[in-house]
C-alpha cells in the first residue's frame, strides 16, 4: 500500500534538509565538522533520525559530495556539449570551473583537496574521474576536428583535470587571501596552460568566456 503523498513529501524534505545541513557545515568549516550529531541538530532532527535516511556517515557524505559534484560536472558537461570549437570550449570549461570554485571557496577546497576520512576521499576519486570523463569527450572531439594533437584522450584528460585542480589548491586554501581579481587571473592562466597542452597550433590567444550560470 502506497504511503500518502503528504507524508512522502515530508520524508523527502527531511532528507533534503539533512543533506543541506551537511553541505552547509562542510562549506562553512570543512570536514572536521562533519559529525552526525552536529548535522542532525543543524537540520533540526535527532541524531538517530539521520540513520533513517542514510545508511551511515560515509553514505551521507558520499551523497553530499555527489550532489555538489554532479552540479559541477553538469556545468562542465554543458560547456563541453556547447557550440564552438573544441579549443574554445576547453578554455571556457576550465575557466568557468575555476571561477565557480573560487566563488564557493571553502566548499571547493573540501571537495578537491582538504584532508578527510578515507571513505569520503574515495568518493572524491569518483568525482575527479567523472570530471576527467567530460574533458576526455572534448579532447576526442578536438582530435577528430584536427584542432588538438593526437594523443590518448584519457591520459590527456587526466592531465588537464589534474593541472587545473592542483593549481586551484593553493588559491582555494582557507589561509589564502580571497582576491577575486587574482582569482580570475589564475583561472585564466590555468585555462591558457591547459589549452597549450593540447592545441595543435600555437595558442590562438583565446579569451576565456565565463559561462557561469546566474
Amino acid at each position: 500500500m502506497a504511503i500518502a503523498a503528504v507524508r512522502l513529501n515530508q520524508l523527502v524534505e527531511t532528507k533534503a534538509r539533512i543533506l543541506d545541513a551537511a553541505r552547509e557545515a562542510v562549506a562553512l568549516s570543512g570536514w572536521k565538522d562533519a559529525q552526525i550529531a552536529l548535522i542532525a541538530s543543524r537540520a533540526g532532527v535527532a541524531t538517530g533520525s539521520v540513520y533513517r535516511y542514510f545508511d551511515s556517515k560515509a553514505d551521507l557524505y558520499a551523497q553530499v559530495l555527489a550532489l555538489v559534484s554532479e552540479r559541477e560536472v553538469a556545468v562542465v558537461a554543458a560547456i563541453v556539449e556547447a557550440e564552438g570549437s573544441a579549443s574554445q570550449c576547453l578554455v571556457d570549461a576550465i575557466y568557468t570551473f575555476a571561477v565557480r570554485a573560487m566563488r564557493g571557496r571553502r566548499l571547493a577546497y573540501a571537495l578537491i583537496a582538504e584532508p578527510c576520512e578515507p571513505e569520503i576521499d574515495a568518493a572524491r576519486l569518483k568525482y575527479r574521474a567523472a570530471l576527467a570523463d567530460q574533458i576526455a569527450r572534448l579532447v576526442r572531439r578536438g582530435i577528430a576536428d584536427g584542432e588538438f594533437v593526437e594523443i590518448d584522450a584519457n591520459v590527456a584528460a587526466s592531465c588537464v583535470a589534474g593541472a587545473f585542480m592542483e593549481a586551484l589548491v593553493g588559491p582555494l586554501a582557507p589561509e589564502a587571501a580571497p582576491d577575486s581579481d587574482a582569482a580570475r587571473a589564475i583561472a585564466q592562466s590555468i585555462a591558457g596552460l591547459s589549452a597549450r597542452m593540447l592545441f595543435r597550433h600555437p595558442a590562438p590567444e583565446l579569451t576565456p568566456v565565463s559561462r557561469v550560470s546566474a
Copy 2:
C-alpha cells in the same frame, strides 16, 4: 653523561626498523594496514615501544611519508639541477618520476592518491608542494632562457605537477594491470603533454631520457 655509542646505535637502528616496517606495510597493502600494533610486530618490537620513537601514529606516518617523498623530490631536484636545456630537463624529470612511480606502484599510489587519514593526507600536501617547488625552479629557468612562455612560475608548476600526478592515479591504482610497456608509454605521453604546456616553440619532439638511478 653521554650514552655509550653502541647503545645509541641500537636506538637509531630500532627507529629505522620501525620506519621500515611501516613503509613496507604501506607498500604492501596501503594505509589500511597502517596500525601501530601491526607495525610494531613487523618491526619486532612491542606496541608501546613505538611511542618511545614517535610521538604518535600521525608522527610516525608523517615521517614515513617524508622519508619516501624526500627521495623522490631529491631525484627530481637532481634532474632540475642537471646539465641541459630546461625543456629537456622538464621532460626528463617528469618521465623519470613517472617511471619510478610505476616501479613502486603500490607505494606510489599510497603516496599520491590512496584515501587515508586526514593527518597523513596533510603531510601529503607538503610533499606535493615540495615537488611543485622543484618544478617551479625549472620553469623560472626556462622562462629566463626564453625557452618557456612567460607565465606565473608557481601556477605553471602546480599545473605540471597536478597533470602528471593525476595522470598517474589511474595506472597506479591497485586494480590496474601492471604493464611496463604501457607504463612507459603513459609516462612519455605525460611528459610530452606537460612540456607542451610550457614550451614557447612547437614541441621539438624531445625524447625523454630516464635518469633513474640504479
